[in-house]
Subunit: 395 residues, 2 copies
């Protein structure tokens, strides 16, 4: 058995269609899509046909509403900062929620340094935002609401159609960070009424370092990257055509296989949760039990450190994570888990297990056995666990 | 004879070493460099070894001074806006010159919308900036000087060592947009004393859509992309590892072959300029005759439209351009050419011919013959040319 990836929220393999498209693009030696001659025409055609495919993935009406970026983080920065600057004369207030990704949190923090005000609304114990809370947070000076779709740490899905409706009614733009949902679950920007949607290629088995921002026609943004006229004047810079071609190929497969993959993920999740009690006790499952990513489980193992479990499982050939890779390097407890009311200790004992197309129930069984072993070893040397056992016995 | 690329300033083929490295990286299925487990470690090693290679290309002392970006334009935006925001409390004045690339011009225009002031200094008839003019433009409130190395339209090289010295003396940060020189001619950020240097991979036969920014230790910037802790906390977002690996492979070849390539380019340029009078009359060569990119010629063909020549040559299988691909879509005359004192009419008749490693003197001879034919055809139907001939005859 090779190394097993149960950290699909942080990295996935490329679908063969994406690798092949990228290799073909490398060999094709495309020109610069902005050039005036034949080599430019050819590159431009590839670029625009990729844009059409990616537009279909989220049901954007016009491919020109898709701007290719270098990652989900760039899309988020472009949406949040770009909208704030473009509308600063109308007002300088933005609304978000407490469990956003660092890309949103830190973009907003930057805007605060430049004189904007931000209201961050709370979530319930499942990590869900109430659209009515968003409505109450909107003021006369509010220009943007930015609330994510799927939370990358607990998998919870926010009611984005309702949030979009609240924004529409209030005349406020709505940005949705959908990096961890686009390509995995169906998203229809037209039906949802979203103004700005950030997404990336790697969460649906495309290459890393490619993303896109959906910008509804009529929504004006200041460019984050100023310069040439690329991307319909919305994002300057020579395009990463190899990556874009890979993203489009992965998008095609995502559309084709979405139902099949969802079914597969749901079976795995059901299996995992059904088997778990046989292997482990004293744990919590975080996030919303139904309104959640089907390939994602946030598990708090009490009285141990999540980091220690990750290291032990790594040695046994299983990749899982304690949180978003983007937050690694930080030793603080997850702001997402604390926002749902989890204790600091339980937050520190949390693992994120995320499935991929190649995960099987057999892999899950093997993983659970390895997890149970690791937890047993760690609890045997844990003073926290000993204290908890003593307390329990005393009761 | 296939399609001939004499528009190398706007697009180049990949060196085989870069394509191979990229294909290998695609097949290797690297993880996320920010992940906590084995797959993350492996990806991180590849990322950091690429950073070391790219640091060597410009003689950066510490690889951590290199931040990978998605293109030269992103590097420029990050440097100019990031420095301006980080130092806005010290002052809000920036200095540039009249012949910069749109990435610099439009980043500065954006800063002006946010309350910054910009002084743009003139260039001489060769398009060269005088360091003493820069010195005189620096005020108490100046925080940044941004002056490019090689001009992409006329090939002129600015005296950046002298400009860096002026900045150093005045205690002002110096950013150099070196997108069109790094990898082609030697650049040593240590010897030159540059604080911020923008460059990209495609100008030295690496992939498009990958760039880097050199940030001297101790120079603080606000992030353009806020979010995770990637790139030593200077640039959030999951890395385009396939592209970065390609950039590093191309950098290695650039270092190995630099002298050989320079010799080759110089021979081609000499040959071109020596042969040109046999094929064409009534033209101008723009830019500095010695302080210039060795693989670049800016040729103003009088009494014809450059766009028309590009189209005719394209049909004959030669790619050349009238200007930067980043400026395409604009019908206005080049601001660079007008800044050197060229007339509007001559600016409109300008072609950029740029050589690559695969250009030969035979190709140049064939090209000059095709050019002469095209110009003859166009002049035969040009009222401007007829008027000019009549005037000449009358004299």
């Amino acid at each position: 058995m090779g190394y097993i990836n149960l950290d699909n929220i942080n990295f996935k393999h490329l679908v063969p269609e994406a690798s092949q498209a990228m290799i073909d693009a490398i060999k094709a030696e495309y020109g610069n899509p902005s050039s005036q001659h034949q080599k430019g025409d050819e590159a431009r055609e590839v670029l625009e046909s990729s844009r059409e495919t990616v537009a279909r993935l989220i049901n954007a009406k016009d491919p020109r509403e898709i701007v290719f970026t270098s990652c989900g983080t760039e899309s988020v920065n472009m949406a949040v900062k770009g909208l704030a600057w473009a509308r600063q004369d109308k007002g300088k207030h933005l609304v978000t929620c407490n469990t956003e990704h660092n890309a949103v949190i830190r973009s907003l923090r930057r805007l605060k340094q430049l004189g904007f005000q931000v209201t961050s609304v709370p979530v319930d114990k499942y990590g869900v935002v109430n659209p009515q809370t968003v409505k109450r947070a909107i003021r006369e000076s509010t220009i943007l609401v930015t609330i994510m779709h799927a939370n990358n740490e607990i998998g919870t899905l926010h009611p984005i159609a309702e949030i979009a409706a609240v924004c529409r009614e209030a005349g406020v733009a709505y940005h949705c960070d959908a990096v961890d949902s686009v390509g995995t679950i169906p998203i229809d920007v037209e039906a949802l009424g979203i103004d700005l949607l950030s997404f990336a290629s790697n969460p649906f088995y495309g290459p890393k370092g490619v993303g896109a921002l959906y910008v509804r026609r009529g929504i004006g943004l200041w460019n984050l990257l100023d310069g040439g006229a690329q991307e319909n004047r919305k994002r300057a810079g020579t395009e990463n055509l190899v990556g874009i071609v890979g993203m489009a190929a992965a998008a095609k497969v995502a559309m084709r296989d979405m139902e099949k993959r969802l079914e597969h993920y749901k079976n795995l999740r059901r299996h995992f949760l059904a088997q778990l009690p046989k292997y482990l006790e004293d744990y919590l499952i975080n996030g919303h039990p139904e309104q959640c990513l089907p390939n994602h489980i946030s598990l708090s193992v009490r009285h141990v450190e999540g980091e220690s479990i990750v290291l032990m499982l790594d040695e046994q050939g299983f990749a899982v994570s304690t949180r978003s890779a983007c937050a690694s390097g930080s030793l603080r407890a997850s702001h997402v888990l604390l926002s749902t009311g989890l204790s600091f200790a339980d937050a520190q004992g949390t693992l994120v297990i995320s499935f991929g197309t190649d995960t099987t129930t057999q892999i899950i069984d093997n993983f659970l056995a390895a997890l149970a072993e690791s937890v047993k070893t760690l609890r045997a040397i844990s003073p926290l666990y000993a204290a908890a056992q003593k307390e329990k016995a005393g009761k």
